[in-house]
Every structure is written in structure tokens, then in C-alpha cells.
């Protein structure tokens, strides 16, 4: 792996930016060099939310810091999938929240994995608001870029005290469901 481009996209309110941030921190802890950028339409809440990560083995030259062709894409909502799929490689690993996205929306060629992050969060963790963390747990297992423990450590250190417990559970849930998924 020379340079890995990851995109996470969804609606405002789905915790996309926090997910991107925690992912970035975890990857850094793992030893990667990471550039992570956020875009969102602050003006119209409920609008787009995007986190992009460029992951390098070592610190490279600082150059264009956005995803051009994502190697890994996570879509948490259908609207953003439609909007940004042209920024995803034809052979990319694409992980989607099947609570909101139907299989037929996925492009051929993608190595697609459908997991109902939101439903799992709501049903098993008690609130849809941790769907983002469930996703991060799954991502650990699916990509192998970092371990579940590394993710949990990041959560421990960076999440507001009241939320840590819940988030740790969500991460585990995600990891487990991905495992079950055979990923």
C-alpha cells in the first residue's frame, strides 16, 4: 500500500465527521501518516457530510489532500452514495449502511459489503446515534487496517466520558457483525 484513499459520506447528523476523526486518530496510532479533511454544508442542516482520509505508510510530500478515487468508501446514506460514487474507484471496497441503501444502488465491480449499521445501533445499542461507531468496528475487521483494541483505545481517550461505555459496545458490535458477515 502506497497511498490509500478512504471516503466516508452520509447525512448531517449521522456522525460522519466524528467517525472520520476517530478513524484518523486510530490509523495514526497504528503508525500511518494520515491527512483527513471534512466537508459539510453547515448552512443546511441535514445536508451533506463527508470525511476524506489519505493514508500513507510514511509521511509523504504534502500534496492534494482530498480523495480523487477512493480505494475504500463508506456510505451511510443513499443520497451521498449517488452524489459521490464517481469519486470511487471501479474496484473499490465499498461498505454501505443497508438500513438506508438498497443493493441495487451499488455499482458493479465494487467489492461491496452491506451491513445495516443504523438498525444494529438502534436495536442492539439502543440508539441510532452510534451507527458511526458500529461502522468503525466493522471497518477494523473488514480492512484490517487497525485492530479493534486500537479503536477502543482511541474511543477511551477521545470521546466524552458519558459516551465511552456506549461507544465501546458499539465498536464491538460492529466488529462482531462484520465477522459474522464473513468479512
Amino acid at each position: 500500500m502506497e497511498r490509500l484513499e478512504i471516503m466516508i459520506a452520509g447525512r448531517g447528523g449521522q456522525g460522519i465527521l466524528l467517525a472520520g476523526y476517530l478513524l484518523g486518530l486510530t490509523l495514526i496510532k497504528h503508525g500511518y501518516y494520515v491527512v483527513q479533511s471534512e466537508s459539510y454544508s453547515a448552512e443546511t442542516r441535514g445536508g451533506d457530510s463527508r470525511s476524506e482520509l489519505i493514508v500513507l505508510k510514511e509521511q509523504g510530500e504534502a500534496d492534494y489532500m482530498r480523495v480523487r478515487r477512493a480505494d475504500i468508501a463508506v456510505f451511510m446514506y443513499g443520497e451521498q452514495l449517488r452524489k459521490y460514487s464517481d469519486k470511487v474507484r471501479n474496484d473499490a471496497l465499498v461498505i454501505v449502511d443497508s438500513t438506508f441503501i438498497k443493493p441495487e444502488e451499488l455499482r458493479e465491480g465494487w467489492r461491496s459489503i452491506l451491513i445495516p449499521f443504523s438498525r444494529i445501533a438502534e436495536e442492539q445499542a439502543g440508539t441510532i446515534r452510534v451507527a458511526n461507531i458500529v461502522m468503525l468496528g466493522a471497518l477494523a475487521r473488514i480492512t484490517g487496517l487497525y485492530t479493534l483494541d486500537e479503536l477502543k483505545e482511541t474511543i477511551q481517550r477521545n470521546v466524552k466520558p458519558g459516551w465511552i461505555e456506549l461507544n465501546l459496545r458499539a465498536a464491538e458490535l460492529g466488529y462482531k457483525v462484520a465477522e459474522e458477515h464473513g468479512a
Binding site: G24, I28, V34, Q36, S37, A42, A62, D63, Y64, M65
Partner: protein, 378 residues
């Protein structure tokens, strides 16, 4: 101190960390997107370092408060974006005139006027230099990464304190929404300079009497017994109003010349494949990174592109630019406005065609978009 640590920070946070490392002790600000999160970061953190953070009723109050604080002995800073920077116009000149060390973080967003608060832009190249009335000197530095935001904020304080000038750190919306690894070097790994203190006793000390080599007067703080007069009118070495030709000329020239004389501690630029560049790009800030990708990819195709990136925007590394352009057949300035930096480049590189690629977009242009926009010259 002394230990570097690692951060995963956006440019605002990195600049805040840089300021803390440099010894920031007073921050006054007024909320504005996208500078607010720098302010908020410091509001939480600076009090733990014994510093004070305060929100004022507007940006005019903020800049005057930091000027007052600087004379009271604190390293002082504010942060804002376009509309707030415009409001500070008058008092930036006041800081320059009274040779007060202050640092202003300016987070460029899309203008003019209220524009688009949540989008990027580079419309303040000229404004950052000429915003206030009358002729004065000012330093403007422009990072293109979180690391540089950290490093240049420290440098900004060093210049401000050593040269007694206002220093602007000009960042853009894209940088403050990008997190990267930052090595948070601490002294002695990184140099932190302090203002020169008076060597003369109170009776003899004159607050605007420069040391002859560097043209910078030592600075006595309030409360130290020097009875210093901070004078916004044209003044002599004592700070006394002196509407007299030669005093006036001496003062205004020195306000500009002291930066010239100390160019070595100010001027900075970076080049990328410029040695044999036939097409020289010039760009700064986040856009420069997109241009780097353009150059990198062109080189892979065997095209001799290069990039000159001013890091100090004012004053610019004019020699460096001319050198980078030596072998170029043309110079292409890529900026997110409708032609500002290009005017300086035209002026500095007088013997080559200089083209403008104005990218009036609201988000960082991709390398492809830049190539597309510059196609007619490539």
C-alpha cells in the same frame, strides 16, 4: 518543554498550539466562521497555561485589546476571517505605527462581504498587505499544512516580537478543515524569541529609538517604570507628536525598512521541481497542494513543470521567484480569486509571460480542475 509531541490537528488547532508554544498569554477574539474553533480551542486550553482568553464586543475591540495587552507585556493574538479582518483595518495601522508585536490569524473564506462563510477563498492577498491607510510595514505568512500552521505561528510571534510589527498568518478554510499529523516541537528544538528589552535606564530610554543595525527599538513594557507613550500620531523617538518632515519621513521609512533589513528572518518560500521548470506555477495555501499534484503527475509524464510557493507572502521571496522562473517559458499563477498574487508576480518577473488561473470555486480545486483551467497555456 523540550519534548516534541504529535498531534492530529487542523490548521486552526495547530496554530493555537503554535501560539501556546511561542508563549501566547493573551487572546481576544470575536466569533466568526471559520476562525471560531481556534478561539474555542484556546478558550479551553490557554487558561491552563496561565493565559487569558476573552471575547470582545467586536473585532475592533479585539485588536485594540491585544495591542494594549502586548504593551502590558503579554504575547498577544487574535483570530478572524474576512469581515472581521476588514473591521480591524484602522487598528492594524495603529499596531504598525506604534510598533506593537501582535499576531493575527486570518482564516480566509469566500468573499466579498458576507460571501459564503463556510467556503474557501484567497481574496485577501492584497488586503492583508494594504488594509490600513497610510504607508507602513507588515508581515504576512501563509501555511499550506497543519504543520506549517504550527511552525509559522511560532515564526509569526518571533517576527512580531523581534521586529515589533504586526504579523498576519493567512490560512484558508480548506486548511482549517483538514487534520494532519503535526510534530509539536518545543524549545530548544524550536526557537522562541522574546522582544528586546531596554538597556538604558528609564530617564534615557526612548521607546522608538531603533538599534542602528536592525532598526528595531527595544521595548519597555507597561509597569516597568519607563513611562512609555504609545503614540498613534506621527512621533519622534520619544513618542512625541512631531508633525515635521524629517521626523515623519524617518519614521515611515523605518516602519517599512526594518522588515527589509531583517528579511533573512522573514522571507521564506518553497520550490518543487523548479530547477529545470519550463512551466512555472506559483500558488500558496491549500491550493498549492493541488498544484503540487499537478506538477508531480506532469513530471511522471515527462513534462517539465515546477512550483514556486511563497511562504512569506509579504514580503515575498522575490529573488527566489525570479530564480525559479529562470528557465521557465511561462509563469502560471493559480489563485482562488480574480487576480491578486498574479499582479505581484508580473511585477517581479518582468521578462516572462505571466498568466492568471483564477479559481473562483468554493472548495479546494482538484488537480484535474487546475489543469483544465490552465489548459490554454499548457
Amino acid at each position: 518543554m523540550g519534548e516534541a509531541s504529535l498531534g492530529f490537528l487542523n490548521a486552526n488547532q495547530a496554530a493555537a498550539e503554535g501560539a501556546i508554544t511561542a508563549g501566547l498569554k493573551f487572546f481576544a477574539g470575536y466569533p466568526i466562521t471559520p476562525a471560531s474553533d481556534l478561539f474555542e480551542y484556546l478558550a479551553k486550553k490557554l487558561p491552563k497555561y496561565g493565559g487569558v482568553v476573552v471575547q470582545s464586543e467586536d473585532e475592533i475591540a479585539a485588536i485594540n485589546a491585544i495591542i494594549g495587552a502586548s504593551w502590558a507585556g503579554a504575547k498577544a493574538m487574535t483570530a478572524t476571517s474576512g469581515p472581521g479582518f476588514s473591521l480591524m483595518a484602522e487598528s492594524i495601522g495603529f499596531a504598525a505605527m506604534t510598533e506593537t508585536p501582535i499576531v493575527i490569524i486570518q482564516n480566509m473564506r469566500a468573499g466579498p462581504s458576507t460571501g459564503v462563510a463556510t467556503a474557501t477563498g484567497q481574496g485577501e492577498v492584497m488586503q492583508s498587505r494594504w488594509v490600513s491607510h497610510g504607508h507602513y510595514g507588515i508581515v504576512v505568512l501563509t501555511p499550506f499544512s497543519s504543520q506549517e500552521a504550527y511552525d509559522l505561528t511560532i515564526k509569526a510571534f518571533n517576527i512580531a516580537e523581534r521586529l515589533r510589527v504586526p504579523v498576519v498568518v493567512l490560512m484558508d478554510y480548506v486548511l482549517v478543515h483538514t487534520r494532519e499529523r503535526v510534530v509539536l516541537k518545543k524549545p530548544p528544538e524550536v526557537e522562541v524569541l522574546e522582544r528586546k528589552k531596554p538597556t538604558k535606564p528609564p530617564g534615557e530610554y526612548r521607546p522608538y529609538e531603533p538599534d542602528p543595525e536592525d532598526l528595531v527599538p527595544p521595548m519597555a513594557n507597561y509597569g516597568e517604570g519607563y513611562a512609555v507613550l504609545v503614540e498613534s500620531m506621527a512621533h519622534d523617538e520619544r513618542g512625541y507628536y512631531a508633525p515635521v518632515d524629517d521626523v515623519y519621513e524617518r519614521l515611515v521609512k523605518r516602519l517599512v525598512d526594518k522588515i527589509e533589513v531583517n528579511r533573512h528572518m522573514v522571507v521564506e518560500s518553497a520550490t518543487y521541481h523548479t530547477d529545470d521548470a519550463e512551466v512555472l506555477f506559483v500558488a500558496f495555501g491549500s491550493v498549492a497542494r493541488s498544484v503540487m499534484s499537478v506538477v508531480k503527475e506532469a513530471r511522471m509524464e515527462g513534462k517539465k513543470y515546477g512550483l514556486f510557493r511563497p511562504i512569506s507572502l509579504w514580503p515575498m521571496d522575490e529573488k527566489g521567484l525570479r530564480k525559479a522562473a529562470e528557465n521557465a517559458e511561462q509563469v502560471i499563477v493559480v489563485e482562488m480569486n480574480y487576480g491578486q498574487l498574479v499582479r505581484e508576480v508580473e511585477r517581479i518577473v518582468r521578462d516572462k509571460p505571466v498568466h492568471l488561473v483564477p479559481l473562483l470555486k468554493l472548495d479546494l480545486p482538484t488537480p484535474e480542475e487546475i489543469v483544465e483551467a490552465a489548459r490554454r497555456w499548457l
